[in-house]
């Protein structure tokens, strides 16, 4: 089934897709990043200090104004909490914000694609999924529900007992994918609804730790410590980002998992966006809708890299260690690194960050303990 959908897409792309999709949607001078605006990456220091260190200038306001308006049109953080937009369309209308009629050939291809996905691939998968679902409840968590093509790399680095496995998070599918290649003890947010039901049934088969995001405190840490001490148990699987991110970047790793000690086994998971969108936008779609979307995609193709185990060094603090692990995962998976907290999906940013920006500006503008005035050239 996986091979079939893979092959079908290849056929489309080679006979119709490449010529039509690429020539009509991708102009020669377009940029790789499919965004709304072109952002300039100059920092505050380059923009303001480059002109005149140590003085205040009326034009400084313009720097902040422009950055502010850029953020309104498009910002780096909220972009990660919705599906990635592809530069080259993969014939799924759900990942294209700019859908408009291009040519009749493309429309024909798209309609054919719809028929295949909804009438051929989906019913076949439902039948498979039901029987797999029954198996999953009864047996280990390593049964594949959605037809996915998973490539594991560096299997010699697979997590062993008693270690902590950390990975970047895109959806609960990550758990399933990793579970096909090993048994893990899960630490995660307790959900209600359909996903909660799955979680409850998983609890029957092995020991997992479920908690509520808003109550994550020391007790949690203690539980993990006990688990680590018992080497006979399964390795723990944790997603330090704390929420689903859309697989284009790795956001801040919460330091909790990195304070416990023990060996950390980083794993990088990267989905191929051309075949299907694996990101679960929990604020927009329920679990059932998400599964339906998965089943009506082309396929789920992903690469999983097991990275060499890492240990916290003597003088290193948990935050620094977390950032080190995050950088390794992002580099392997080809994703960018963001220092922002994934929790910003649900809550506001702290005041202290604004104060940092103000302090930074002051440092540029103050020289020798006083502020000059740079308005007269």
């Amino acid at each position: 089934m996986n091979v079939l959908s893979f092959f079908l897409l290849r056929v489309f792309y080679s006979f119709f897709g490449i010529d039509i999709v690429h020539s009509t949607l991708w102009k020669e001078d377009s940029f790789i990043h499919a965004g709304i605006i072109q952002r300039e990456e100059t920092s505050m220091e380059e923009e303001i200090a480059g002109r005149h260190q140590g003085c205040f200038n009326l034009a400084d306001v313009m720097y902040f104004s422009k950055r502010g308006c850029e953020a309104v049109a498009e910002d780096e953080v909220t972009r990660r909490f919705s599906s990635e937009e592809l530069v080259s369309w993969n014939l799924l209308s759900r990942t294209n914000a700019n859908l408009h009629h291009v040519s009749w050939q493309l429309s024909v291809v798209w309609v054919t694609g719809i028929l295949i996905r909804y009438c051929l691939l989906m019913p076949f998968r439902v039948k498979c999924w039901l029987s797999n679902q029954v198996q999953m409840i009864c047996a280990r968590l390593g049964v594949r529900c959605v037809s996915g093509l998973i490539r594991f790399h560096n299997r010699e680095n697979r997590p062993q007992e008693g270690g902590i496995c950390v990975a970047n998070h895109t959806s609960p599918l990550d758990v399933l994918i990793l579970a096909t290649d090993g048994c893990y003890s899960l630490v995660g947010q307790a959900h209600g609804g359909f996903l909660g039901l799955i979680q409850k049934s998983c609890m029957q088969t092995s020991r997992h730790v479920l908690f509520d995001r808003s109550e994550m405190k020391d007790r949690h840490l203690v539980r993990k410590k006990e688990h680590i001490a018992d080497k006979a148990k399964l390795p723990i699987l944790i997603f330090p980002e704390g929420t689903c991110i859309n697989n284009t970047s790795v956001m801040m790793f919460k330091k909790g998992s990195f304070e416990v000690g023990g060996t950390i086994h980083p794993v990088a998971i990267k989905y191929d966006p051309r075949f299907g969108d694996a990101f679960w936008n929990s604020t927009k779609y329920s679990m059932m809708t998400y599964i339906f979307n998965l089943m009506t995609s082309w396929a789920i193709v992903c690469n999983v890299w097991y990275l060499p185990p890492m240990v916290k060094e003597e003088e290193e603090d948990a935050v620094h260690f977390a950032n080190r692990v995050k950088a390794v995962i992002a580099a392997r998976g080809g994703m960018s690194v963001l220092p922002w907290d994934g929790g910003l999906k649900r809550k506001k940013v702290k005041e202290s960050f604004k104060e940092e920006q103000q302090k930074k500006y002051c440092q540029i503008v103050i020289e020798n303990g006083s502020v000059g005035n740079g308005n007269v050239y």
């Binding site: 709304i36 902040f64 953020a71 910002d75 953080v77 914000a97 408009h100 940013v349 604004k354």
Partner: protein
């Protein structure tokens, strides 16, 4: 229909740009009532940490109102469109485009800030936070006004403001390039 009205209003903004901005507008509009409130803007982290964030947000809202619709949203963002070469040779007698240099300077963010000492001080305070004392800040504000003031009325008129910034490349500094 909204898209048609908007594209008539902003004749040189492309259809796809409006569509993308509309989808950005709806993703910010958590209440799904077709307008944005101040809380919706404050949810953008990069704007929330900008020292002038609150003033920028205010620029989107018409006088005394708490909601901004898509037209108002686009209008404010349109101030930041760069000036294209082919637009310069357009009808000289026609109405001045939104993104002209003069309109960029007129933009609410800049205009009332430097009219008097009080506003100057207020905006400066936003930019530096608590890291500079009141006296120091007051003296910077005074000096700024003094240097720019030419007719001796202790306030900066719009013409004086423009003069101070004549060597600054406003078009480039206050331009955001929209893709597609």
């Amino acid at each position: 229909m909204l898209i048609c009205v908007s594209s008539f209003f902003f004749s040189s903004v492309s259809h796809s740009q409006i569509t993308r901005l509309y989808s950005r507008f709806t993703s910010l509009d958590k209440g799904e009532n077709g307008t944005l409130s101040r809380e919706d803007f404050q949810r953008i982290p990069e704007l929330a940490i900008n020292p002038l964030g609150d003033r920028i947000i205010n620029a989107f809202f018409p006088e005394g109102e708490d909601q901004v619709n898509f037209r108002g949203f686009m209008r404010t963002l349109a101030h930041f469109r760069p000036i294209e070469d082919n637009e310069k040779s357009k009808d000289q007698n026609g109405p001045e485009p939104l993104n002209s240099r003069s309109n960029k300077l007129h933009c609410k963010k800049c205009e009332p800030s430097y009219r008097s000492n009080y506003f100057s001080f207020f905006v400066l305070r936003m930019m530096v936070g608590v890291n500079i004392s009141d006296e120091q800040l007051g003296s910077i504000a005074d000096r700024t006004i003094q240097e720019a003031d030419q007719d001796g009325d202790s306030a900066i008129s719009f013409a004086e403001f423009v003069k101070v910034l004549e060597k600054v490349d406003v078009e480039q500094k206050m331009s955001i390039r929209f893709l597609h």
